[in-house]
């Protein structure tokens, strides 16, 4: 079965969604991320959706539940790179992802998780 790769960098997990996900693949990603947060003791999750051309209610719900799950596991989630047409459509659909932090690009997203990086440096020297 196909899987979306999860990269591990210090205490961050990086995911870049590059395919048109079916519902099974989205559910798999949510499961895999939960396990990866625990396995790597990650404190930040960055999800790049700049290549995603469609966020419907199912994928929107998945992003919200990943953020909620990560919070319970003491990790912060930032979704970056949403295309303007996708943002306009999401709002029309009635979803504004109120519980999901967003940033314009990967750079801004990593800066948003900056506190996480300082904490990491402080504890590991």
């Amino acid at each position: 079965m196909d899987r979306i790769p999860i990269l591990h960098l210090r205490d961050l997990l990086l995911v870049s969604i590059q395919v048109d996900m079916d519902d099974q693949l989205a559910i798999q990603l949510e499961d895999d991320l939960g396990q990866a947060i625990v396995d790597h003791e990650a404190h930040g999750v960055l999800i790049d959706i700049s290549a995603v051309e469609l966020v419907d209610s199912f994928i929107g719900r998945m992003l919200g539940s990943i953020a909620a799950m990560a919070r319970v596991l003491d990790a912060q989630t930032v979704v970056v790179g949403m295309q303007p047409a996708v943002a306009i459509t999401l709002v029309d659909l009635g979803l504004s992802l109120p519980n999901v932090q967003t940033a314009l690009d990967v750079d801004a997203g990593v800066r948003m998780l900056g506190g996480v990086w300082s904490r990491d440096r402080a504890t590991r020297g």
Partner: protein, 137 residues
């Protein structure tokens, strides 16, 4: 672009079929010159309705029809299933109402995204949802 058939019917039996169906809608909208925002709205509506057909209608079909009017081209999508039907259409259109695992935004949200939507549903024998989106400008 080679001449595409005016009418295409695709099965909606698996979540992969939902992906294939929305990709066909995207291809048609691109070929007909819809703007990126209009494409995205139509494809997102198609994804919501195709998933409803699968999850609530126990599978069915999507028919894609290319339209031509004096105002310009349009795309009509018809989603049909022989599932349990929708007992109360007004209630089903209400944001936040769901009988399943979703957010309850699918049906009402899809209507906002396309503009024209009609629902014919008979409890016990199935549902037919028709949406039409015209190219703007």
């Amino acid at each position: 672009m080679a001449d595409a058939p005016a009418l295409e019917t695709m099965p909606l039996r698996t979540s992969q079929d939902v992906v294939r169906a929305r990709q066909r809608v995207r291809d048609a909208a691109v070929a007909m010159g819809f703007s990126l925002v209009e494409q995205t709205k139509l494809v997102t509506a198609a994804s919501e309705l195709a998933r409803n057909t699968l999850d609530y209608g126990r599978g069915g079909d999507m028919t894609l029809d290319r339209l031509e009017s004096q105002g310009g081209p349009g795309i009509r999508l018809v989603f049909t299933d022989e599932g349990p039907g929708i007992p109360d259409v007004e209630l089903a259109l209400r944001d936040g109402y769901t009988t399943g695992r979703g957010l309850g935004m699918g049906l009402g949200g899809a209507r906002r995204l396309v503009g024209e939507m009609t629902i014919d549903s008979t409890p016990g024998s199935g549902t037919r949802i028709t949406v039409t989106k015209w190219k703007r400008g």
